[in-house]
């Protein structure tokens, strides 16, 4: 989801409750970059997406979107908030390898990670055989794959904030007036902002009852295991939702206003221990 360029500095303050802070220098640099990049790449909207903490350098991530905000997304990364590089979408190979990749992001996009992949053939039989593949993954590819995975798992929007237009585009809903306080505390009122997966598996009858232009995504309360923590900060004046699966992903919404957004600020590794930790 990210936070949009126009509400940049206001929204950034609200995410400080989750410990996400940008220094004044970075804020200023990002503000400038966002404007320039939007013009340069002809994006319809541009969002600050977050940052990935590396060992020597950090990656700052910006996302630009075209007409269909669900599908036409592009990532840009930078280590100094000024010089940006386009990130090519992750290949299927990289998506497969990156969860196996051990160790932290270094901050050097051309760094190579050694990845060992195991495939088990004839499982649970006598000839069970574990094969080992050694391959390499470039950090840039790993970054793309990780961002893709985070988008799949942890980018959320409030119900009704985006609409599916009759022409198939997904756009920000200008008439969205926010969730009520009670609604905002329930996970069923938030959607994964990705192509729906579990919605397609629902029965036709169930889908027929849904509002097609608003309820076209998966709700997050169906996630297994339940990797979300909802909290009211400032009493009920501000809702913070943090992903437990991707620690560092924080989402905020001010109930009864159309202000919402999210940022990721973390080490770029999934919390695979989640089932044990709840």
């Amino acid at each position: 989801m990210g936070i949009e360029a126009k509400d940049f500095s206001l929204d950034l303050d609200l995410l400080a409750y989750s410990g996400i802070v940008f220094s004044p220098e970075q804020r200023a640099a990002l503000q400038t970059s966002l404007v320039i990049l939007k013009e340069q790449y002809k994006f319809k909207t541009i969002h600050l997406w977050g940052k990935i903490l590396g060992i020597t350098e950090d990656y700052y991530i910006i996302q630009g979107r075209q007409k269909n905000e669900l599908q036409d997304r592009q990532f840009l990364y930078s280590s100094d908030c000024i010089n940006w590089n386009m990130l090519t979408p992750a290949s299927d190979d990289a998506k497969e390898l990156s969860p196996q990749c051990q160790g932290r992001f270094t901050g050097d996009p051309s760094h190579d990670f050694d990845v060992t992949k195991y495939t088990v053939s004839n499982e649970d039989t006598e000839e069970e055989n574990v094969e080992e593949y050694k391959s390499q993954l470039r950090e840039e590819e790993r970054l793309a794959a990780t961002l893709w995975k985070i988008e799949q798992d942890a980018i959320i929007i409030p119900r009704g904030s985006y609409v599916l237009q009759p022409n198939g585009n997904v756009e920000r809903n200008r008439t969205f007036e926010g969730l009520t306080i009670i609604e905002s505390g329930k996970l069923s009122n938030y959607f994964h902002f990705r192509e729906p997966i579990s919605l397609q598996q629902k029965s036709l009858i169930h889908r027929a009852t849904l509002d097609k232009s608003l309820h076209f995504l998966d709700t997050i309360d169906e996630d297994v295991p339940k990797g979300w923590s909802v909290q009211y900060e400032r009493g009920s004046g501000l809702v913070q939702i943090r992903s437990l699966k991707w620690p560092g992903m924080a989402f905020f919404h001010i109930p009864e206003t159309n202000r919402y957004g999210s940022l990721y600020c973390g080490i770029g590794e999934e919390n695979k221990d989640l089932p044990f930790m709840l």
């Binding site: 303050d13 802070v21 220094s23 970075q26 060992i55 909290q231």
Partner: protein, 528 residues
């Protein structure tokens, strides 16, 4: 309003187009009556709905309204359908009321005398400014509230030193943590008593059993629990500082109990999210000795021990203290008065020698100073030990040793070819005013900054250590060997009804049979 508009519009048409006005009017009426009569299942008719949509568009006059007409229509519909929810409890207001006392000026101590200026309250806003440069923090509003809450804490008790330790994020509520150094021997530790009893529980149980089985004593277990590692007193080792937590600034501070070695070493084996409820039971394997507050306290001890660093030269060992021949090395350090601030270049250097640990390393035993289990428990035979005490209690126990105090962080163990710390400068563009900061790669969320004489540590995160491998719960211990049958308990056949009858007869006759019968009955039980 829009209804009249609609009518006017059709009236215009009538004028322009047709001489047969009455016909047009009839059609209009037909149409209108049709529209008003089409009622949905929920009792809303189309006419009312259109009125709503059109009037909204006219009052708000949004730009390119044609594109959002559907949304307006949808919104109007959904508002009608929405069931009446009970009004939400206004927690925002409740919280504001709760925080209001923070902003009230206390009337006694505001004469800006020396005493007031020497308060142990730290300048948190200044620190927050530097942390912001480093890319960590909690935002200015919240920081100020925390500051006020800390002030409240300082006003209440007599503390030598107070600092804001950090924030641990929980799943339902968060913890704000204050670290205080108490004046020596403060009030009696109320929480100590509780722990003592829980530790002694096992011993008591054993006694009870003995008492019950007068007639037929149960076999006594030869297993002796490994001697539990004694905890360090408040004011020393891992319990050097006392910690107070609250769920949000303004709520009362709760003092955390002191931590026991078992709690620290067990905390290393589990990984559980904090919920924000201090008294929640920790559900984990191996079972955790204590509730969430003990776990929280143990994690705080671990995080502090690993991530509390200061610029080299800030502290020095006290001169008077001679090198005592104790394990653990020197325990005391004091502020170096000659310290004039560490140079930036040294602080951001890759060797990381510009920073030193000023909190003692926690040994695997769960203490900072090694405790020799053979000192007092030496006469007891060493039985199979529980894992955490394996090293400590093995015959000829190897003393555990950690790095001495004020060791540079550059020699910290690597995490799989990754340095344990990342050192950086907060600004490359204006380095003359920048501060240096380091962040821990072992405990993501732990930061420290330094600039000139000012330096501070903070932690904001979930309170878990980084590891390259996935968490694997401890396996249950191996089952003990089965009891080997000895000749005295050989199985015998169940008594037949005839035998029982005989026995009963014998019992009725006299006392003599009683003993026999009892034995039999017991055998029966055992066979089950």
């Amino acid at each position: 309003m829009s209804a009249t508009h609609y009518q006017n519009h059709s009236a215009d048409q009538r004028h322009m187009r047709s001489p047969e006005g009455s016909d047009m009017e009839k059609r209009f009426n037909d149409a209108k009556s049709y529209i008003t009569s089409t009622t949905g299942k929920d009792g809303v008719n189309l006419y009312d709905h259109l009125v709503k949509c059109v009037s909204r568009l006219l009052t708000e006059q949004p730009r390119d309204s044609v594109t959002i007409f559907e949304d307006v229509s949808k919104l109007a519909r959904s508002q009608q359908v929405k069931p009446q929810e009970q009004p939400a409890e206004n927690t925002e207001h409740i919280l504001a009321e709760e925080q209001k006392p923070l902003f009230e000026k206390s009337d006694n101590a505001e004469e800006l005398d020396d005493e007031a200026l020497q308060s142990p309250l730290p300048h948190i806003l200044e620190q927050a400014y530097y942390f912001e440069q480093a890319g960590i923090g909690l935002g200015r509003d919240e920081t100020y509230r925390i500051w006020l809450a800390l002030k409240q804490l300082v006003d209440k008790g007599q503390y030598e030193k107070v600092r804001f330790w950090g924030k641990i994020v929980g799943t339902e509520k968060n913890y704000y943590i204050a670290e205080v150094e108490q004046n020596a021997e403060e009030e009696a530790d109320d929480d100590d008593g509780n722990e003592e009893t829980s530790e002694n529980d096992d011993a008591k149980d054993a006694d009870d059993e003995e008492g019950e089985g007068e007639e037929d004593p149960l076999p006594k277990s030869t297993y002796k629990a490994p001697p539990s590692v004694p905890k360090e007193e408040r004011g020393t080792g891992v319990n050097k500082y006392t910690y107070h937590v609250c769920n949000h600034p303004g709520s009362p501070w709760v003092r955390l109990p002191i931590v026991t070695p078992a709690q620290v070493s067990q905390a290393r084996q589990i990984k559980v999210f904090f919920t924000g409820d201090l008294n929640r039971e920790i559900k984990s394997f191996p079972a955790y000795p204590g509730t969430e507050k003990n776990y929280l306290r143990a994690q705080i001890a671990r995080i502090s021990a690993t991530t509390h660093v200061s610029p080299a030269g800030k502290f020095k060992f006290s001169d008077e203290e001679e090198e005592t021949e104790e394990e653990g090395g020197k325990q005391n350090y004091q502020e170096n008065e000659d310290f004039t601030g560490a140079p930036l270049s040294e602080l951001v250097h890759e060797d990381l020698n510009g920073w030193v640990h000023h909190v003692l390393h926690v040994l695997p035993q769960g203490r900072t100073k090694w405790w020799n289990p053979n000192d007092n428990g030496d006469k007891e035979e060493e039985e199979a030990e529980e894992e955490e005490d394996m090293k400590a209690a093995a015959p000829g126990a190897q003393p555990e040793q950690g790095p001495p105090l004020l060791t540079p962080i550059g020699v910290d163990a690597e995490i799989q070819n990754t340095k344990a710390w990342t050192a950086k400068i907060s600004s490359n563009l204006i380095p003359q005013y920048a501060c240096a900061f380091v962040r821990s790669n072992l405990w993501p969320g732990a930061y420290a900054f330094a600039r000139g004489m000012i330096w501070e540590n903070i932690y904001v995160g979930f309170g878990h250590k980084y590891s390259t491998t996935d968490y694997r719960p401890e396996l249950p211990p191996l089952p003990a060997n089965e009891y080997t049958d000895l000749p005295e308990n050989i199985e015998i056949d169940d008594p037949t009804p005839e035998d029982e009858a005989k026995a009963r007869a014998a019992e009725e006759h006299g006392e003599e049979g009683e003993e026999e019968h009892e034995e039999e009955a017991e055998n029966e039980e055992e066979d089950d």
